[in-house]
Each structure stands twice: as C-alpha cells, then as structure tokens.
C-alpha cells in the first residue's frame, strides 16, 4: 500500500451518469488516522533497524568486520636483509650473500588436493632435487605435518622451475646463501656460516652480530590489483654491517699458493704462513694448508677447518734464539761486539747435555745467530737474571694472545714455575720448553722489526684493540739484532735460501723435533721467521712447515725458500724499494764522487 493510495481514499469514481446529482456532491478526502500511524511506524522501524544495524557494525562491535577487511587488504612485507659483506683491505669482496630460495612442502595441503596423483610432476621435482621420487613422496605423505623443507638454498633457476611445476602444497621461501669467491685461499680467516646464516667459524662467527641484520618490516594496505596504496607502519630493521679485513688478498693468494706448493713438495702434514705489517701489527696474510672450500663443505673433515696458524702451538726451536741475544743485550751482560767462548762445543748442565754441531770456538753474537749455536745462546741466557729472561719472553708476547681475537686462538704453552734449572733455562734459549703459535712468533718478529714496540696483531681494519702498543725493547738493540739476523740469509748462514734478490732480509731458521710422549720423536717442525727489508723494516713473515715427509727436513731447505718467494712477491706488491746495494747503486755513487772531485 502506497502513501498516495491512502490519501486518495475513498476513491469513488462516478459510475453512471444517472447518479449525476450525487456525483457532483463534493466529497472531502478523508484522513484515516490509524493507517497513517501504522505506515509511519513501519517506516520509522525500518530506518531505526537500519540505524541500529549501522551503529552495531560501526560502534558496538566493529572488530570483526575490521578484521575481515584487514585480512583482505593489510599485508606485512619485509625488505630482504642480507648478511654484511667481508672485504679485504682494498675492498675486494671475500664473502657475499645472495638471495636464494628454500623449497618447502605443506603435506596437509598436498594430501587435501590429491597432488600426489600427478606422478609426472613429482618425477620432475625429484629429478631437479637430485633424489628419488618415492623417497620424496614418502617425506611429504603425512597430512599431520604442516611444514617440511625439501631443499635449502636453491638457485633462482631451479626455483623458477619448481614454481612452474605448480604442485599444490609446494612453496618457495626467500632466504640467502653466502658465497666465498676466494674459496680455500682465505677460508681459515673468514670461516663460514650455516644454512641459517649464522656464523660458525672464523670471522663469520666472531663478528656474527655485527654482520647480521634484521629485515625492515612494512605494514601496508594494498588494493585489489595488489598495489601498495598505504604504508600503515614502518619498522626499520637493524642494518647489517660490512667488515673490512686487514688482509691484502693479493698477498694472501700468493702466500697460500706458495705454502700449498711447499706442502706438496715436502710432503708435509700441514703448513702455515703469517705476514704482518710491522708498524701497525695488521695481518696482511694468514694461510694454512690443508685448507677447504667454504662454498661446498659437504665432505670437509674437521681437521681441515682448523686455523692452524693461531690454534696450533709448536716448540719454535732456533727461531727463538735472537730472543736470548736480545735478553742479554737488554740486560747489559754483553755488548753488541762481545765475543762469546762456545768451546768445547758442548756442555753438561745439571745432568743433561747441550751441544753445537761442532766446536765454534770464540764467536761474536752475530755468529751465534748465524750459526745457530746452542752453546752461545745458553751462555747468554744464563748470563741474565732468571726473572729478566722470563720477562723478556713474556714481553715479546709469547705467552699471551696476539690481540687478533681470532676464533680458537691459543696463547701457546708455557709452564710457569718458581724454580728453573740451568738446563731448562738454556733449552728455553734455543726454543724448547715453550710452545708458540705461528701468529705469536710473527708478532715477536714484528716487534723486533718495529724497533722494539710491540703492537697487538689485528685482522679487522679500524677495530679498536684492547691491547695498547708497548715498548718492550730498546730501538738500538732491536735493530742490532735485526742486522745480526741478516747474516742468516747471507753466505755462510743457515737460511741462505731465504735471501731475496735486491732486498736485505733478516730471519732465523728453526728446525725443531716434535715432542712425543716421553721425549722427542722423529718428526720435525720447520720454521723460518724473518723481517724485511732490514734498512727500513716493513713486514714480518713466519713460514711454518709441519712434519715434512720428504728427504728435506731442515728449515733452511723447506721453509726458507718458501719464505723467500713470499717475501719477494710481497715487497713487490707493497711497492717497497729494494734496499740492497746493487751494482747500479755503486756505479751511481762512483759517478757522484767523480762529480764532486771536479
């Protein structure tokens, strides 16, 4: 019933012209009160209902619809965050994260959609995952499970293929994979991460928090086309930081190649090399063999992973002899030009015998180092107060961490005791009874090369170090011993193969027997440690060859040539001018003299 219908009531149309009189009578349109009210009530009720419903939705219980709306439009997106880069000192990348995908399955969805019936797709998937289709199906054929990783860190090409297979319940998830372009060359320093990007070894482990970032999260609203139309909330994640190492990858690559060659040539168990900048204590190269490829660790045995240059301590043997000379010079019991009587070439100290290869007679300090005289260093060590000798060893950093903080770093082996027999002191002077790592030895030589100022070793560029530079030797004595050590690489020295043409090189060989239970065995450790160039020391290098298995087991034949090759190339790369007097220099000097005469 419409409103107009009500108002027109009663609607009487004239029926016949016969009733004309009656028809002419004006009939006022009547107003039916009750109808009006009924209709009004209905209308008001309808609107009241609408208003109430609207209020109910908007005010009283809006949450459900808001939630429904948000479910359709609000999304959380995160910007992928990758682990920080690790670069060498010149910015060459040594560790880079790239995006990869993880393939995972939701078995419940797979079973619900009956995806297993399409065997052709599963065969294709199994083939690309390099597994058997039945094994694969067994893994996902359990509707109780909701999440199974099928493969982690797959390449984008593989991910696209899997996506195109379009199997219900098989999904991809963004993750990242870490690549080490330098491979085995720097693997001991850098270490590696696990599949979840957590550092497990080396720098990756030490600076895990620094390198790890968290993704930026954005809460956004999207329209029907999936375009982002409103940013509701932004949460900035922690930015991943990069790391710059002090390593020079050119030197590192070369050093690694040289020791790898030496390891094969001398059939050694292992070898290590440490190259240190003497002025700053920065490690320019640190490599070990055997090494491993950090990009594919499926078959890597744990012994290959050890960073031997900092974890393994050896008795350094003669390589410590310069320290005995230094201690005596510092103490003042001898002068630079003192002559020590080493005859008859052997001595008995408290029931044990120490001896030289032959009787050297009366020799200078220089000759003690050059000929590696056990008698000479023993006499020097015993001429010094015990505490002073111990302090010298301690001050040179042989009983403490090098400061580089590397994972698994050993601070050497040294048994502190209150009473020392003369024999023990003399063995200490030629490098037995104390075990040091290659890194500690490098630090000791760097200290001598730096004119007696001990620097903490560092591997991270610009990282604040806890240890402070410390003067432990007088500059005069440090340089004096350096010049004495130069004779080792000259004619008549034990390390003549360590000489580098064009440069003055100081160094010391060390051939020590390895201690076994109850004495010393038949295995050797060959060490050559040195500093170059002598006139302006820049680098300290330690080459350690462990258990050479071939005919050659003297450091002068194994470690020395390797040392020479590494030092020669390193000085070239660092662009350090040759300091040895050459024929051309002599010619120039002569010419100048002639000029002056005219």
């Amino acid at each position: 019933m419409t409103v107009s219908a009500i108002i027109q009531k009663p609607r009487r149309r004239p029926k016949t012209p016969k009733n004309n009189k009656q028809a002419n009578k004006k009939v006022a349109p009547g107003f039916v009160q009750w109808r009006f009210w009924v209709v009004l009530c209905c209308v008001v009720l309808v609107f009241a209902c609408l208003a109430f419903r609207a209020a109910y939705i908007q005010v009283i219980q809006p949450d459900r619809l808001i939630e429904q709306g948000d479910n359709r439009t609000v999304r959380v997106r995160d910007n992928a965050s990758y682990r920080g880069l690790i670069t060498d000192r010149h910015g060459q990348q040594l560790a880079v994260s790239v995006p990869a995908q993880a393939i995972y399955a939701d078995p419940k969805i797979i079973v619900e959609n009956g995806a297993l019936s399409d065997r052709r797709r599963w065969l294709a998937l199994a083939e690309v995952l390099e597994t058997d289709a039945d094994t694969l199906i067994n893994r996902v054929d359990n509707p109780a499970q909701r999440f199974v990783y099928l493969q982690r860190q797959v390449t984008p090409a593989m991910a696209t293929f899997v996506k195109k297979l379009n199997i219900p319940g098989i999904y991809l998830r963004e993750e990242s994979k870490r690549y080490y372009p330098a491979g085995e060359v720097s693997s001991h320093i850098i270490g590696f991460t696990d599949v979840d990007d957590k550092g497990l070894e080396g720098i990756e482990r030490l600076y895990n928090d620094w390198l790890t970032g968290t993704p930026d999260k954005r809460k956004i609203r999207q329209n029907a086309q999936g375009n982002q139309i409103e940013i509701i909330e932004e949460e900035a994640g922690k930015k991943a930081n990069d790391l710059i190492l002090t390593i020079d990858q050119r030197i590192q690559a070369l050093a690694f190649r040289e020791i790898k060659k030496a390891t094969q040539l001398f059939q050694a168990t292992s070898a290590s090399v440490v190259v240190v900048d003497v002025h700053s204590g920065e490690i320019l190269a640190l490599a070990n063999t055997p090494s491993y490829n950090p990009n594919n660790r499926s078959t890597v045995k744990s012994f290959r992973v050890r960073n031997r240059a900092v974890t393994d301590a050896f008795e350094p043997g003669s390589a410590l002899k310069p320290l005995a000379v230094l201690a005596a010079l510092e103490f003042g019991s001898v002068q630079k030009d003192s002559i020590i009587d080493t005859s008859p070439g052997w001595a008995r100290l408290g029931g044990s015998r120490i001896q030289d290869p032959r009787n050297f007679g009366e020799i200078s300090l220089t000759e003690i180092i050059q000929r590696s005289s056990n008698m000479g260093t023993s006499k020097l060590a015993l001429s010094v107060k015990k505490e002073f000798l111990m302090d010298t060893y301690y001050n040179m950093g042989l009983m403490e961490d090098t400061g580089s903080n590397m994972v698994g770093e050993s601070s050497g082996l040294f048994h502190e005791r209150s009473r020392w027999s003369n024999f023990e002191l003399s063995t200490l002077s030629f490098g037995y009874g104390i075990s040091v790592t290659a890194a500690q030895l490098a630090r000791m030589y760097a200290t001598i090369g730096n004119g007696g100022v001990k620097m903490p070793l560092s591997i991270i560029k610009g990282m604040e170090n806890l240890q402070q530079p410390e003067r432990v030797l007088s500059q005069e004595n440090a340089y004096a011993v350096l010049e004495m050590m130069e004779t080792v690489t000259q004619k008549g020295g034990s390390g003549i193969k360590a000489a580098v043409p064009g440069y003055r090189v100081a160094g010391k060989t060390g051939t020590s027997r390895k201690a076994v239970a109850g004495g010393y065995g038949e295995e050797y450790v060959n060490i050559f440690a040195g500093v170059a160039p002598v006139s302006n020391p820049q680098i300290a290098v330690v080459v350690l060859i462990n258990e050479p298995g071939g005919d050659k087991y003297y450091a002068g034949d194994t470690a020395a040539p390797t040392f020479s090759a590494i030092v020669s190339a390193t000085l070239h790369m660092l662009n350090i001018p040759p300091d040895a007097v050459t024929a051309m220099d002599a010619e120039l000097a002569l010419e100048k003299q002639l000029h002056a005469a005219r």
């Binding site: 990758y82 040594l94 790239v98 995006p99 372009p181 491979g183 982002q228 139309i229 070369l254 120039l588």
Partner: protein
Amino acid sequence: MIKPSANFNLIMIIATDLGRHLFLILLYLAVIASALAVVVSTHNNRQLIIAQEQLVQEKDALDIEWRHLIIEQTALTEHNRIERLVQEKLNMRRPTQDDERLVRVRPQ
C-alpha cells in the same frame, strides 16, 4: 504565508535567497573543494606510494644483480687464476730483480 507577487520569478527568488546567505554558500563551496582536494591528494598519495614501491623493488633487483656480478667478478679475477692465465696464455712472469730499474725521485 507570503502572497505571491505579480511578477513571480523563480530565478529571482533563488538569487535573492542566495544573496542573503553568501557566507553559507562560501562555506558550502569550501567543503566541496576540500572534499575534492582530499580525493585528489589521496589519489596522488597512492600513485606516489606505488611508484615508491616499484623503485624499492627495482633497487632490490639491482642489489641482487650487483651481488651476483661481484661473485662473478671476484671468481674470475681470483689472483691465483689470473697468475696462472697470464703465465699460460700471455707468457708473462713476475719481474725479477734484474728487470727492475729503480728511479729515485728525490735528487741525491
């Protein structure tokens, strides 16, 4: 009730009525304008956000490409590989002491 005047003109009546409430009209127009401005600015805002999103995606894609390129570059320029290649293909070697000529910059 107002008695309809002789020259009844609807337009005139509306005009005079409007003339009496100029301020209200102004407010009305302002409301309309502001409503339209809201629509326009929301639209612009969305366009900008869409553009920003595209740029962010582009940046991510470039970052990924950059990372792949670094790996490729570092793998190809690995020092030991270069040394081997120049020795084999270009027959080069490291200079020895004899090849070097030292030029002193400072006059002696």
